[in-house]
Symmetry: C2
Subunit: 210 residues, 2 copies
Amino acid sequence: MNEKKRIPKSAVSRLSLYLREIQRLEKDGRDRVSSTELGEFTDLTDAQVRKDLSYFGNFGTSGSGYEIATLKASLRKILGKGAMWPIVLVGVGNIGSALLRYPGFKHEGFVIKEAYDVDRNKIGVRYDELVVKDVADINKNEKGKAAKIAIIAVPEKAAQDVADILVKSNVKCILNFAPVVLKVPEGVTVRNIDLSTELENFSFLLSFSK
Amino acid sequence: MNEKKRIPKSAVSRLSLYLREIQRLEKDGRDRVSSTELGEFTDLTDAQVRKDLSYFGNFGTSGSGYEIATLKASLRKILGKGAMWPIVLVGVGNIGSALLRYPGFKHEGFVIKEAYDVDRNKIGVRYDELVVKDVADINKNEKGKAAKIAIIAVPEKAAQDVADILVKSNVKCILNFAPVVLKVPEGVTVRNIDLSTELENFSFLLSFSK
């Protein structure tokens, strides 16, 4: 556990990129890759690549790069790939329903197993094997207690209440699309996808450079 | 321009959060806010709030906090709010069509003015005043040359080609939903929304803490 704390969060995100690139190279029939090459793909220095990987073990032999099969297996293990991670989705609006229809998650080992909404018109709607349920029933659902990852795609005003319910139902990781800073207890991780903030970064850049 | 370079990117994202919070406070009838309070809302220290705001001017009087009307006007100006920013969207799949239907952007000053796809079944589809066009026509479109912000929501394999076309049509800021690191020339900013990487951060955390 102490080891985990010393690993910078951003390094974990970069591991995902490295894994993606070496899987692409493997498909092309390659069996080795250098840190320089991984850096080129991901727009990072080779020193950064080596440093990121060094947090998790000694994968390379100096001068000859990394063996793709070994590195892939290690990165997959580190990132918890191979397992199927159930996800609870709350909010089946524009974004939520797009996520339900997105086939890519399953391929990556993430499956939305339950979806909830407060809207009578959405409750009962079927997406493949999944039927949207009433948000009031989150804690009643036994299966809900197994999911440790949740996605919040509800309007701003409802987001904190939903987060509180999810935390009670033992969710440990929340991907939050609502434009609000959620308060959660220690031990619960929130990552925000905030489209307005991203776009405001752009309008800032474009205003300043005019 | 030099001044812009010294401002950390992350500070700009935080300005968006501060602006959102003070607009909320204003609606509640408040006229002043302290850095401590802004920090509590956004889970940052008061020193961090003061430092972020200091990049852009001297907004506060020691001890009495910030006047909400003044701070709001300044933050809105810094973030390029008030203007209406046209956006080009490429890729009208699950995510792209959700973005087209999302009413929040317009409220924030961002309007998807054009949408393109390669799929014959999607070209010609209408979303309010907007009709999806053939991606081959991006550069033919005069209006397209006015948009400096683009959203890429195409599959991984097509993303770099689309980015190249957009850069040629004078786009300076790209919000990229494709799981790939785009190569763009200097002067073009890319921000990535990578849902799989976000979820892999979670599976990493949950695997390591088991």
